[in-house]
């Protein structure tokens, strides 16, 4: 039930210029680029948090300008750096947010929450009643992933979700994330090339508000563009 995404001639003010992208249903795409290259803005176009000044965004063939964004957002997972958990709600209440919006009954909500939290190694009985502030950064981010995926979204938008975590936790979460990713279209923003290569089968490189490379992950490191080679050499130093 994954959703396809298409951007047709999309521009946003002076940030994005004439972006054309087709992401087939079920594909995992990484947007990489330096800060300010336009990757986050492009991601936020897909759930209508940013509106294009020209061009059109399509999700499953439907133009966003003619779509009810509230409904779309409830079927779209969104994972961000810092997790954005509701600090006044417990872990369970946080995870139950979208199921409650979709008016699932309590049994269904609880079962789905328990299942997704278990996959992320957060047993519901132990973590459910806790407040986000009592969790470590990695645990908070896991809850953020659970909250975004509990209602089986068609589409998952991730904005540097693991950016603030230490390398070991980061690697663990990347692995956990890979296990969960089947059957959903994923757009994953990162400035970390190894992370992009681990998670996505396709890489889109942004520079100055334009798409400069769009290729399968396996071919990315062979792209001759100097910016690609800078990402590769920066990454090989880090690995």
């Amino acid at each position: 039930m994954a959703a396809a995404v298409e951007l047709r001639n999309v521009s946003v003010g002076s940030i994005l210029h004439d972006i054309n992208l087709r992401i087939p249903a079920g594909e995992a795409v990484a947007f990489i680029g330096r800060s300010g290259a336009g990757k986050t803005t492009t991601l936020r176009l897909v759930n209508g948090l940013v509106r294009p000044t020209s061009g059109e965004v399509f999700v499953d063939g439907a133009a966003l300008s003619a779509t009810d964004l509230i409904t779309l957002r409830r079927r779209t997972g969104y994972i961000i750096q810092g997790s954005g958990l509701f600090p006044h709600r417990t872990v369970y209440e946080n995870v139950a947010t979208v199921p409650h919006l979709l008016q699932w009954n309590e049994d269904e909500t609880r079962a789905a929450a328990e299942q997704i939290l278990a996959k992320l190694e957060l047993p519901l009985e132990k973590f459910g009643p806790r407040y986000p502030r009592s969790l470590s950064g990695g645990e908070q981010q896991r809850v953020g992933i659970a909250r975004a995926m509990v209602a089986r979204p068609l589409l998952l938008l991730c904005d540097e979700p693991f950016g603030a975590l230490d390398p070991i936790v980061r690697r663990d979460l990347q692995d956990a994330f890979r296990e969960l990713r089947s059957g959903v279209t994923i757009i994953f923003v990162t400035h970390d090339l190894p992370e992009a290569l681990r998670i996505a089968e396709r890489i889109v490189l942004f520079d100055g508000g334009r798409v400069v490379v769009d290729c399968p992950s396996s071919e990315f490191t062979r792209q001759p563009l100097p910016l690609v080679q800078r990402f590769v050499s920066a990454a090989s130093l880090a690995v």
């Binding site: 509230i70 997790s83 979208v98």
Partner: protein, 201 residues
């Protein structure tokens, strides 16, 4: 005398409760509105700010000749108190809502909360300790200001103070002043407690 102090204290509590209650009903929606509309909100806030600069005795006096809301008596006192209590409540509502972490708002919008749901389920609960702090300030200040309302026949503990002043009777002044001070302290303690209880997580 004791009966009179009790009666005046009761009257005092009633005046402040009605005034602060009205300020809450008016002030919280006004604060939300100010938080949403940056420019218009700024103007509204400055206007409410300006009211605060009017000396309280003068404001009570100025309201007397105003048709419908003015005149001598308790209702004029209440209206003046509402005007003073509005500022801390509006300002703290605004500050509380603006103070919510933008990442939390972003996550809420992205999960498909409507504007109403975002306000009810995220912004207001997270702003609530700050809003209650505003209510606490409005109440404590209101209890003090209400004593001056006796000057225009507002009743309450100020009646005893004014009578004491005109009779140069310090016992009479204290009979009004001490209960007023005690009320202010009590309100401060209770509302501080509520404020702390509201900070969850």
């Amino acid at each position: 005398m004791t009966v009179e102090i009790i009666r005046a204290t009761g009257e005092h509590i009633m005046i402040v409760m009605i005034a602060v209650g009205a300020s809450i009903i008016l002030g919280i929606p006004l604060g939300i509105w100010c938080a949403r509309r940056v420019r218009a909100g700024g103007v509204a806030l400055r206007l409410i700010d300006a009211i605060q600069t009017i000396p309280s005795l003068a404001l009570f006096g100025l309201l007397i000749p105003v048709p419908f809301i003015g005149g001598i008596g308790t209702h004029t006192a209440i209206i003046a108190l509402v005007l003073y209590s509005l500022l801390p409540i509006v300002r703290n509502t605004l500050t509380g809502i603006r103070g919510v972490d933008p990442i939390v708002i972003d996550a809420g919008v992205a999960m498909g909360l409507t504007e109403q749901q975002l306000l009810r389920e995220v912004e207001l609960p997270l702003a609530m300790p700050t809003i209650v702090a505003g209510i606490r300030i409005a109440t404590v200040v209101g209890i003090g200001l209400a004593t001056i309302a006796a000057a225009i026949g507002g009743g309450g503990l100020g009646t005893l103070i004014f009578r004491g002043v005109s009779m140069v009777d310090s016992h009479m002044i204290l009979a009004g002043a001490l209960p007023a001070a005690a009320l202010a302290l009590l309100a401060d303690v209770i509302l501080s407690f509520v404020e702390r209880r509201l900070i969850k997580g």
